[in-house]
């Protein structure tokens, strides 16, 4: 049972890294970016190509995946997204769905539609026993990396100047820019960073979640659930939500295989009935 808990935590933390960028973008710019998964997919495919075709070691690909997705994010943000910020939520939804469709079809065309795999180094394969718990090495790596990232994010947000600027801009954009904070710069950087995180998550997730061109569509709902259940006003909210979902999904699929997939949806519905603004949201809903 503890193995399941362990696996669930790994899954949850992976979800968190994937979804955190979306949480920040939504909280910061009130922008519904359904194409977030496309940046994750980009990171995943970059890793696959680098490992399989160019023989780059897996661990070295992780920062590259982050970088590529971050750069992609920056480019898209500055050229396209910036025009859509002020539009209605419906427009944002239509726009990002459009991007998803385009990215899915484009990747399908370039990479083919079957699932792809990245060879993970043998040192990361298999598991070792810790007090009777089967600790998967790869999953341990995920937990370590994601844990460090979470701590790092929390640190950046609460202890650095950039973090304060970001939090100010999230709280009240007009006042923040009135205080001299370059809100556009903050947006661009944050969007790029969030996309980079998604890319990293995508790279890490190839092994656990599986990667094919429909990735952004398959996982869209998961990211949305994390963000809605966890709220967008903190890091801890989505973090706890991701863990809840990760453990719930893994446990559900193990103990109740016929209905396992519903656990996530049920959690979502229950939470939304109880607290429409998410578990951790502050005050008024967006």
């Amino acid at each position: 049972m503890l193995t399941i808990l362990f696996d669930g935590i790994a899954y949850g933390m992976l979800l968190f890294v994937l979804a955190s960028g979306l949480a920040v973008t939504l909280g910061l710019m009130n922008f519904v970016n359904l194409a977030h998964g496309s940046f994750a997919m980009a990171g995943g495919y970059v890793t696959v190509v680098l490992v399989n075709r160019l023989g780059v070691p897996f661990l070295a690909c992780l920062p590259l995946a982050f970088l590529v997705s971050a750069i992609l994010g920056l480019i898209f943000e500055r050229t396209l997204y910036v025009h859509v910020y002020r539009k209605s939520h419906l427009d944002q939804v239509l726009f990002t769905i459009g991007l998803v469709f385009m990215s899915v079809a484009a990747v399908d065309y370039v990479m083919g539609s079957s699932q792809v795999f990245a060879g993970i180094p043998s040192v990361l394969q298999g598991q070792f026993d810790v007090f009777g718990i089967g600790v998967g090495r790869y999953r341990l790596l995920i937990i370590v990396i994601c844990g460090l990232l979470t701590v790092g994010l929390q640190f950046i947000l609460s202890a650095t100047r950039f973090g304060s600027r970001l939090r100010a801009a999230v709280d009240d954009r007009r006042v923040a820019s009135g205080l001299g904070i370059n809100v556009n710069q903050v947006f661009a950087f944050t969007f790029a960073f969030g996309s980079g995180l998604a890319g990293l998550g995508g790279a890490l997730g190839v092994e656990i979640l599986g990667l094919d061109p429909t990735f952004p569509l398959k996982f869209m709902i998961y990211f949305l659930i994390v963000v809605t259940v966890g709220g967008t006003s903190s890091i801890t909210g989505p973090f706890v939500a991701s863990l809840l979902l990760g453990i719930g999904d893994v446990a559900g699929k193990y103990y109740v295989p016929k209905l396992g997939a519903f656990v996530i949806y049920t959690i979502m519905i229950v939470v939304l009935i109880w607290r429409p603004q998410g578990l951790f949201a502050r005050g008024a809903a967006r």
Binding site: L94, G98, V104, I221, I269
Partner: protein
């Protein structure tokens, strides 16, 4: 003296009444539209298959217009009701529970309405994002359920072995799609007239107020939740009927009915034609289907790319600018009373502000 005043009062009342009622009056362009639709029955016999698809899509888009265009509910999972209605109709026919298609259609629609009612409370509270999520979640849950219980639904292969009996016991479904088209067009027309009636009623007016300013609507005594539940339920029923029509005219139902693609395509259909005046879904369906036909011939596997590109372009250019071509139609059909608009245009400028 009082006689004079009562004459003036009566004439002001009459003007007021005519202003209000003018919206509901059938405009010539509308009549032309339906006459043209009827004409396709006779003039385009070779195209009845695709026309049936268009009619079904139009009905589906109409149902989305009711909640998005008139009540402002953003839904990413409207296909939930479509798929539900499709399976309902398919199962009714396959297991010979109800053999007559029209009756089965009504029952499937009602089943979808029940589903709509049950899930409506999820879209009442929360932000736009919550609604998107919840509606998407519901459609995905249904898809999962249909996938799991594959002994009932046929799972990924779809519902096989559906044999349709003749409509009203008389009109056999033929392989050229003639009966299918007459049937679908008739259903579309009847439901459209009903929707038109609803939209021009006090209930419809209250929906527009809820969409425009929900807190003010509450402040004049409107129970916003009740109205939203009502229109969501009705729209679910309409979507269910559309799904049932598809199942009946193709003798097949599949997981695709619940897919996100279907909900996303539907949004595009409604956006192309414009939401909020009932004809947008119909016009959008016509354009979308022909576009899909043409694009699929060009690039069968990657046509979602072009759909995606179209969505991106529409948003970047601006929905209003794109649909401004429908403005003359809107003005005539519902947004403004064109007769008084003409009168005002020709009246003296002194009447202005």
């Amino acid at each position: 003296m009082s006689g004079e005043r009562s004459v003036t009062a009566r004439s002001v009342n009459a003007v007021a009444a005519s202003h209000l009622a003018s919206r509901a009056r059938w405009q010539p362009l509308e009549i032309a539209f339906w006459v043209a639709a009827l004409a396709t029955v006779f003039l385009l016999p070779g195209r009845h298959l695709i026309l049936t698809e268009i009619a079904i899509l139009a009905l589906f888009a109409l149902s989305l217009d009711l909640i998005l265009g008139y009540a402002g509910i953003l839904s990413l999972g409207h296909a939930a009701f479509f798929g539900f209605g499709a399976y309902a109709a398919g199962l009714l026919a396959k297991h010979e529970i109800v053999n007559e298609p029209v009756l089965a259609l009504l029952l499937s629609g009602m089943a979808a309405m029940v589903l709509g009612f049950v899930t409506s409370f999820l879209v009442l509270r929360g932000s736009d994002l919550t609604r998107l999520m919840v509606t998407l979640g519901v459609s995905l849950v249904l898809r999962e359920i249909a996938n799991r219980y594959s002994d009932l639904t046929g799972g990924a292969d779809g519902l096989q072995g559906v044999i349709m009996k003749p409509v009203l016991g008389q009109f056999r479904f033929d392989m050229f799609g003639h009966t299918a088209y007459y049937y679908s067009l008739a259903v579309l027309f009847v439901l459209f007239v009903l929707a038109r009636r609803i939209v021009h009623s006090p209930f419809g007016l209250s929906l527009r107020s809820v969409k425009g300013n929900p807190s003010r609507a509450t402040a004049i005594g409107i129970s916003v939740d009740t109205r939203l539940v009502a229109i969501y339920t009705i729209a679910a029923g309409y979507a269910g009927v559309a799904g049932a029509l598809l199942a009946q005219t193709t003798a097949f139902a599949s997981l695709d009915g619940f897919s996100f693609d279907r909900s996303a395509d539907l949004l595009l259909v409604l956006i192309i034609g414009g939401a909020g005046y009932l004809y947008g879904g119909l016009i959008g369906a016509i354009i979308f289907k022909f576009m899909q036909d043409w694009l699929s011939a060009l690039t069968p596997q990657y046509w979602p790319f072009w759909i995606g590109l179209l969505l991106v372009i529409i948003v970047l250019v601006g929905r209003e600018r794109i649909t401004s071509w429908t403005d003359p139609i809107r003005r005539v059909v519902g947004r403004l009373d064109w007769r008084s608009a003409l009168r005002r245009a020709s009246a003296s400028p002194a009447e202005g502000n």
